[in-house]
Amino acid sequence: MVSFILKRIASGISVLVAISFFTYCLLYFSSANIARNILGEYASQEQVQAKEIALGLHRPLLTRFFEWAGNALHGDFGVSWFTSEPVVSAITTRLPITLTLVIVSIVCIAIVATLLGMAAAVKRGWIDRLVQGAAVVGDAIPDFVLAIVLVSVFAITLKIFPATSSISPDSGADAWAASMTLPVIALLINGIASIAQQIRSAVIKQLERDYVRTLRSRGIPEWEILFKHVLRSAAPAGLTVLSLKFVGMLGGVVIIEQIFALPGMGALAVQSTSMGDIPLVMGVVLYTVIIVIIVNLLVDLINGWLNPKVRVS
């Protein structure tokens, strides 16, 4: 088990290094006009050159990358080229909002989708058709289009929820709840439908397995068979899709945050990339990828716990 975790961590680190290098290269080619962008149209040629040297833009790619990587290893991601705010603090003030949004959505999806999927698999009939139909509708409507619809109906027309929020990490719980409800719903619908579909087919597959019949023949109550045995074996399929959903959501949330004007990572990502603020972009990418790697590791661990065969090999 320990070697399994170590292996996973090692592969996570290799992914992290590869992605940082790749992103850095991409940004290197985009950094031609950065000094000019920072100083504005009216700065003189000399001022621009001085700025370029101050930012170290004249030095070769690898030198810059290793310098950045070295600092990053010590937890120093530099400061934003435009606002001079330290990257770490810029991200940590915005991360809670994004993470709340994503984690609340994922947890809701996991619970509702599992119940719906199980119900659809076991009861069949109308609930099954409902889940199947909802999966198609959920897949058909991109979450940001749904968000736009939600905003126009519930915020602009009915005025039940604020259209744009003004929360910060230290706002009260009620302000959070009011601001988060619509965005979470926008993220939920699509996820619930598709994960419920996955759980449904995984449960149906398990119910057809021989061991379920044998458990029934042993006089084990049906609820115990469903929730202890069938769900346990069906869960990995759902978990894998859930982790993919999570990765997708970390990206998709960028648009949602823009629609609801939430001051999360999304705004930061859009700003920093459109201006070419290399330290900030690197910070955003790195934080996101680290979160993804941690989530993948967690999923692997849970799968290992659920399935003893994985644990052994």
Partner: protein, 621 residues
């Protein structure tokens, strides 16, 4: 008798013209195709259908509602919404295709190679896939845009690369699943080259999933692209649905309709793609389902509802007098499966037999004879779709299936199952839950059924493992199913079957999956336990040797009917029914080697063809 045509281990799917027909017959599939065709027509004929350049701005006429000149009105700088919508269709559809094309171009060949050859290439590409799949799409696209500029095409190429792992994984898994199929081996033996094998045998397997995946990917690409443009990160000089959404959202208070048109276009197109993917999938699955031969089974035309009632909970009819002493008595049992056309396919038809305490009854027959279905109806473990279409079953003087029930009553059977009736399955490995230890799977039923404590159940479980001849009970108790051999697993299942001291054990081909020397050991074990515990046993098997070894009486089944039953010596030595005679004459034991078994006096091919004909007639009967 022939093996009924089952779809075992088939992974191939055929894309044929009839699949297209099926998609068009499916109303959802048809509407998806219509919507997509409509969008394509818009995109192709954009120049003809519009009278304005999508970027032509009439400053004098902004945010106008629709009229004869501007069909859908104008936006905030006076551009014609209809023109923009139609040209937007062109850009959006082309970019989605570009994305899918890039993803296929990278994912498909690499998946084929990685799946077929494995090795280093597989390792490296899997690592790359991990990298790509850890990347949140939009953030990458934002970075790409920052680096390379706001081009729709470039961002779709980048997104195509991000989507390639989907195709890679799909292809790789499909290839791996068929790489070791025997028909690929046969092609290798015939001397086909790797490229020929891939194009003839392997590509046909991935073709259908690839088409489905492409419909899905196009939808995702449209969503992502529109999302990016909605953020204001698109190329402002190109009219697309996403740019229009952005424009509409800015003016949501002034002219909400501006938002409706592009949102509708996006929703409709993606929805149609999703529906199309589903329709293809359904059509392909349908094609697989038709495999059941028309000749299969005896189709009873009588509608179910008129014949049987649902089980009545309060109903407790007394069994026929003078039959109470039988442990199990099955009378005129019929089991059937309702078909799509309203008829019922009978798999068990008018079967009657009984088993007394301490007696071993063998039910013999070939596959499709209904012997297992008969056993499962006594256990109450028939599949959900199954219906009792006739007869009754009584256990220890009480009905478990009363003469009017159309299903086995689970309430009535749960009193007996696991407590007084137990089950030994055929395939030892698949009948243990791989996620739980063997100990857990022995202990829990005892705790539930006998209501004893965990420690007592553990003590009993260890004793049971010892009783069934397992040498290290403690070690096996702690082990997971995949850590023991097949023979051991079968002993564990036998231990489970006797753990709650049943009166009747139903064993369904308990030794078929085992090696012959292990089979002999397991038969010894079952015989000893049966003698010691005095239980009644119903042994379902196809092997007359196993029958001779264990059974007191035999019932022979064919095509759902019981053709003959009686004392084991009578049946095996002097079979009356021609089918029993045919089965026994097919036994190789005691035959002169190298002699013909069924084709005396005619070429074997002719005998085989004649055998097929007889099978068809029997099945159609």
């Amino acid at each position: 008798m022939s093996v009924p045509v089952e779809l075992v281990g088939q992974s191939g799917t055929v894309v044929r013209s009839n699949v297209i027909k099926k998609i068009l017959k499916n109303p959802l599939g048809l509407s998806a195709v219509v919507v997509l065709l409509f969008m394509v027509v818009l995109a192709v004929l954009a120049n003809v259908l519009t009278s304005f350049d999508p970027n032509f701005a009439n400053i004098g006429k902004t945010l106008a509602s629709g009229d004869a000149v501007n069909l859908l009105g104008t936006d905030s700088v006076g551009r014609d919404v209809w023109s923009r919508l139609v040209f937007g269709a062109r850009t959006t559809l082309l970019s989605a295709l570009l994305c899918a094309a890039v993803a296929i171009a990278i994912g498909l060949p690499s998946g084929l190679v990685a799946g077929y050859y494995g090795g280093k290439f597989d390792g490296v590409s899997n690592w790359l896939v991990n990298v790509l799949m850890s990347l949140p799409g939009i953030i990458v696209l934002l970075t790409v845009r920052a680096a390379l500029g706001p081009s729709v095409w470039l961002s779709m190429v980048a997104f195509g690369i991000l989507m390639a792992p989907g195709y890679f994984r799909l292809t790789r898994t499909a290839v791996q699943s068929v790489r070791n199929e025997l028909y690929v081996d046969a092609a290798r033996v015939a001397g086909l080259s790797d490229t020929a094998i891939m194009s003839r045998h392997i590509f046909s397997v991935v073709r259908a999933p690839i088409i489905i995946q492409t419909a899905v990917i196009c939808g995702v690409a449209i969503a992502i692209q529109s999302g990016l443009e909605f953020l204001g990160l698109g190329d402002p000089s190109v009219a697309t649905w996403g740019v229009m959404l952005n424009e509409g959202f800015k003016n949501i208070y002034l002219s909400p309709l501006l938002l409706v048109w592009p949102a509708l276009a996006i929703g409709l197109t993606i929805g149609a793609l999703v529906l199309l993917a589903n329709a293809i999938r359904d059509a392909l699955e349908d094609a697989e389902k038709i495999k059941a031969p028309k000749r299969g089974g005896n189709t009873a035309q009588a509608s179910l509802a008129t014949v049987r009632r649902r089980p009545d909970r309060t109903f407790s009819a007394v069994v026929e007098a003078g039959t109470e002493h039988h442990l199990v008595k099955v009378s005129h049992l019929g089991v059937g499966y309702p078909q799509a056309d309203g008829s019922i396919k009978k798999v068990v038809d008018d079967v009657s037999f009984h088993v007394d305490r301490g007696e071993v009854l063998g039910i013999v027959g070939e596959s499709g004879s209904g012997k297992s279905q008969t056993a499962f109806s006594i256990l109450g473990l028939l599949p959900d779709a199954a219906r009792i279409v006739g007869g009754s079953i009584q256990f220890d003087g009480k009905y478990t299936v009363a003469p009017t029930d159309d299903r086995v009553s689970q309430t009535r059977l749960s009193e007996y199952r696991g407590k007084r009736i137990s089950y030994i399955p055929q395939e030892p490995m698949s009948n243990l839950d791989p996620a739980f230890t063997i100990g857990y799977q022995l202990v829990t039923p005892m705790m539930r059924v006998l209501k004893i404590s965990k420690s007592e159940a553990t003590k009993r479980a260890l004793k049971l493992l010892d009783d069934v001849g397992i040498r290290f009970p403690e070690k096996t108790f702690e082990a997971y199913p995949h850590e023991v051999s097949g023979g051991m697993a079968q002993r564990v299942l036998i231990a489970g079957a006797i753990s709650c001291e049943p009166d009747l054990i139903i064993a369904d081909e308990p030794t078929t999956a085992l090696d012959v020397t292990v089979q002999a050991d397991v038969l010894d074990l079952v015989r000893d336990l049966q003698k010691r515990l005095g239980v009644g046993v119903i042994l379902v098997t196809h092997n007359f040797g196993v029958v001779a070894d264990l059974c007191d009486r035999v019932a022979v089944m064919q095509n759902g009917r019981l053709v003959e039953d009686g004392d084991v010596r009578d049946i095996l030595r002097n079979p009356k029914d021609p089918y029993t005679q045919k089965l026994l004459s097919s036994m190789l034991e005691d035959k002169e080697p190298m002699t013909m078994l069924v084709s005396a006096g005619m070429p074997a091919a002719q005998a085989a063809a004649r055998n097929d004909e007889r099978d068809e007639k029997e099945m159609a009967r």
